[in-house]
């Protein structure tokens, strides 16, 4: 008989657990359907070498990082030192995808804040971004030797994410 009085309490606890789970989640972070799928192919001009193009196919055989950025994106500026650190560690090449930007603005930003990218592809109209499901710059992808996307992070990456997720993943992918 006593158990009956506990039912509302149990229901309340269940409700609190669900609400707590819902509140601790970031609604901006949507699981990408692209994880474990081949990185979409493209071939677009580079940011600084305008007469040369970049295509993900040229990165086959190595683990690499694709970072979507833009000079107009404030969060990218916040993320920039972390990317510079990542580039300095030389664990994997970092390719930039300059998303819907003006060439001179983008080059000015790199000149001012340092250039962590091996090279940047210049996605002027955002068409490549659509194929990669970009909706909030910056976004970062880790792509394996076979050209499969293994990890995606939406929003600025932090040292924490770098150390806890990206570095371990890269060294694991490089072994295979």
């Amino acid at each position: 008989m006593k158990v009956k009085f506990l039912i509302p309490l149990v229901l309340f606890v269940v409700l609190v657990v669900f609400l707590a789970m819902g509140l601790s989640r970031d609604p901006q972070e949507i699981p990408s359907p692209l994880i474990n799928k081949p990185a979409p192919a493209f071939e677009i001009p580079q940011l600084s070498e305008t007469n040369q193009t970049f295509s993900p196919a040229s990165m086959k055989g190595q683990v690499w990082i694709l970072n979507v950025w833009a000079s107009w994106c404030v969060a990218c500026r916040e993320e920039h030192p972390v990317l510079v650190e990542l580039a300095r560690s030389k664990v994997a090449p970092v390719i930039g995808l300059d998303y819907k930007d003006k060439r001179e603005d983008a080059l000015a930003m790199l000149a001012k804040q340092g250039n962590p990218y091996l090279l940047s592809a210049f996605d002027a109209n955002g068409r490549v971004g659509i194929d990669y499901g970009v909706y909030g710059v910056p976004e970062t992808y880790v792509i394996d030797k076979a050209g499969i996307i293994r990890f995606k992070h939406i929003g600025p990456i932090t040292m924490n994410i770098l150390n806890l997720k990206i570095y371990p993943l890269i060294s694991e992918l490089q072994k295979s």
């Binding site: 609604p27 359907p33 692209l34 068409r127 499901g133 909706y135 909030g136």
Partner: protein, 157 residues
């Protein structure tokens, strides 16, 4: 008369300045109609409470342009929908598809409703059994009548 003209002119130029902001329409109204019917069923990823049709964000503009191109290429609505889902996941759809991971979402409310009905029925049945019928004697009936009549008289006063 002059002031009326001035006001009309102001209002008119005001609406003109807004007209600039509207999304460019395709030349073909049929395509535009299809674009609206498809994009109304999709969520804008930047401003998540708005549909792709209603959003003015840059990405929504780009995606509408993309859908317009796909329509012109002769793609079916389903093909366009899967184009979007491949890139942004089921999240872009306002109506989530029925599949194992969404079963709870679809049938959960009905399950809770059934639990509620079952609980209510057992409660009512139990309460029904708890109330025992008391047989009234003639004496009791007389006393009840007396009390009721007494009250009627009071009311009449």
């Amino acid at each position: 008369m002059k002031s009326i003209l001035l006001i009309t002119l102001c209002v008119f130029s005001f609406s003109l300045s807004f007209a600039k902001d509207a999304a460019p329409l395709a030349d073909d109204p049929v395509i535009e109609q299809r674009l609206i019917s498809i994009s109304e069923e999709m969520r804008c990823l930047v401003c998540q409470n708005e549909s792709l049709a209603g959003s003015r964000s840059d990405l929504a503009n780009d995606l509408r342009r993309e859908i317009r191109t796909l329509i012109k290429e002769g793609k079916s609505d389903d093909q366009i929908r899967s184009f979007m889902v491949e890139r942004y996941g089921d999240f872009v759809l306002y109506r989530p598809p029925v599949k194992p991971i969404t079963w709870l979402l679809w049938i959960g409310p009905f399950v809770i409703l059934l639990i509620g009905i079952a609980g209510l029925l057992t409660y009512l049945r139990r309460r029904n059994n708890a109330v025992t019928n008391i047989a009234l004697s003639d004496d009791d009936n007389k006393r009840i009548d007396a009390l009721l009549n007494n009250q009627d008289e009071k009311k009449a006063l």
